[in-house]
């Protein structure tokens, strides 16, 4: 055995030292900028990139920055509404595509994929043109003033939900649905007691995806937001344009942590064998 071990399997590419080293370097380069940004949000120095000791004062500063907190609340509100509406719309489209045969179905699928494939900036300017042209009311009281951004977010995120839910439904045994109908259940009862329980992990996965898509979106929001309706990424952008400060690092770290938590939740839901994807 000891002799055999020295012999390198010609197909064991993942075992080659230089391949592993390459992977390691790429891995470090992918994470280093964000990890350094997060680490230096705790650095007790305003400009220097030399470590000067641990502090949380930039978090306090970010917390006391009213504009930043307001933007953060706006972002969470938009993300929450977006999650609910986009999940419902996406699930309905997914069920439609899963269940029915209809004329021009592939064209319809292409139409549903449009918001995913077109460049974000094109969608952003389209939203800007649309809301200003139809005279969408501005200056409404909170949270109605966020409606334009929310509508735009729903438009680009529900097709993603539809993809996730449809992938989940691909593993569903249609005979169960037929059996339910044969046994006299109505459309709604079949949905509620047969389809929905199976669909749930896909719904949760889709909802989490919709939440992060909305929370993270900058480009489309940038074009739909006004001076009164600033979201967290838009606020961070204006701060970054101004200067790179530890306060921005602190705020960004919070957002990264939220994103990672949502990603972890999503992984848990989607894990195979735990009622996840087939």
């Amino acid at each position: 055995m000891r002799v055999l071990r020295r012999w390198v399997d010609p197909l064991d590419y993942a075992g080659r030292i230089w391949m592993r080293a390459f992977f390691g370097v790429v891995f470090i380069l992918l994470y280093a900028p964000v990890v350094l940004m997060m680490a230096f949000s705790f650095n007790d120095s305003k400009r220097n990139i030399v470590w000067r000791g641990f502090t949380t004062k930039y978090y306090e500063k970010a917390w006391n920055n009213d504009g930043l907190i307001e933007a953060f609340i706006n972002s969470l509100t938009i993300a929450a509404i977006n999650t609910i509406v986009a999940t419902i719309l996406g699930a309905m489209v997914a069920l439609l595509l899963w269940r029915f045969r209809f004329p021009f179905k592939s064209a319809y699928e292409g139409f549903m994929a449009l918001p995913i494939v077109i460049p974000e900036i094109c969608m952003g300017v389209a939203m800007l043109a649309f809301f200003s042209r139809i005279g969408w009311p501005t200056g409404l009281p909170w949270p109605l003033n966020l409606s334009a951004i929310t509508i735009a977010h729903i438009a680009f995120s529900f097709p993603f939900v539809a993809i996730v839910v449809r992938a989940r439904m691909a593993g569903f045994n249609r005979e169960l649905e037929e059996a339910s109908r044969d046994l006299g259940a109505s459309e709604w009862q079949t949905f509620r007691h047969v389809i929905f329980p199976y669909m749930r992990p896909g719904l949760v996965g889709g909802a989490l995806l919709a939440f992060t898509l909305s929370l993270d979106d900058f480009v489309i929001t940038f074009f739909t937001s006004g001076p009164e309706t600033v979201t967290f990424p838009v606020k961070v952008y204006s701060m970054v344009r101004f200067s790179v400060t530890p306060e921005v690092n602190a705020a960004s770290t919070v957002l990264v942590v939220i994103t990672l938590i949502v990603a972890a939740l999503m992984l848990r839901v989607q894990r195979p064998g735990q009622g996840g994807s087939p």
Binding site: P10, M19, F23, P33, V125, L267
Partner: protein
Amino acid sequence: MESYRKNQRVFWVLAGPGSFWLLFFFLVPLGMVWILSFGEKAVIDGKISITETEITWTLANYVRALADPVYLVIMWKSIWISALATMLCLIIAYPVAFVISFASPRWRPWLLLAVILPFWINLLIRTYALIAVFRIRGYVNFTLEWIYDTLWLDGLFGPFEPLELLYNDFAVVAGLVYVFMPFMVLPLYASIERLDRSMLEASLDLGASQVATFLRVTVPLTMPGIVSGLILVFIPCLGSFLTADLLGGTNATMIGNVIERQFKAANDWPFGAALSFLLMYVTFGALALRALLSRDAEARI
């Protein structure tokens, strides 16, 4: 799958809301931009208005975009910067996808996750994080200075001159590669994972070298993944606005920045609309090319 005719009520209930939303809050806005691209600034009382536009069905905006050297230069630059970033992504992502595909099944999902996870992190934050890496007093220059001083080169050549890494084409290409790498790894992984390993064994057994096997067996067999990856990275690169805006400064403008300027600072919406539709046509062209090439590649296998 049942025909929609069998249960029309359920069909329309399911089809209604999503179609409505996409029609009114996506297709109509796009249509408005399309119409806007044939407009020009209205002339009121002999003066060119700043805010009002008139739809005159002129092609002047497209002519300006495609004939004015200023914009032509920017468009070419956007294309070659995106192409360069896409090629770099391929060169970096291929070995990465290879390692993941050939890792033990226990490790595979974790390695894949490690590469995909940054994609979840906010694009703006990832781009912003690069500023601290590349700026004059950034991590790269800091490391280089440390190496320079440790090697006592400052005694020989004078003090360390920090490199200008930010606000140029280099920064934009590096930023695009950094941000869109996961888009390349996924399709590559999908096609390498499906690769029939006995083909590689056969090639090696028949005396082909590892390099020859790679070039003549592995690459042709994974061509659908390569094509998908190239186009999936090229499209967002070409349409990117944030990367060039934050890392490129005024020196490295891409088409996305020009569009943004037309709709914000310059306030020339018709021209911006024409540019954004040109960008969209290129995107659709790339997608069509992908469909065509991947069908070709599948057919050859």
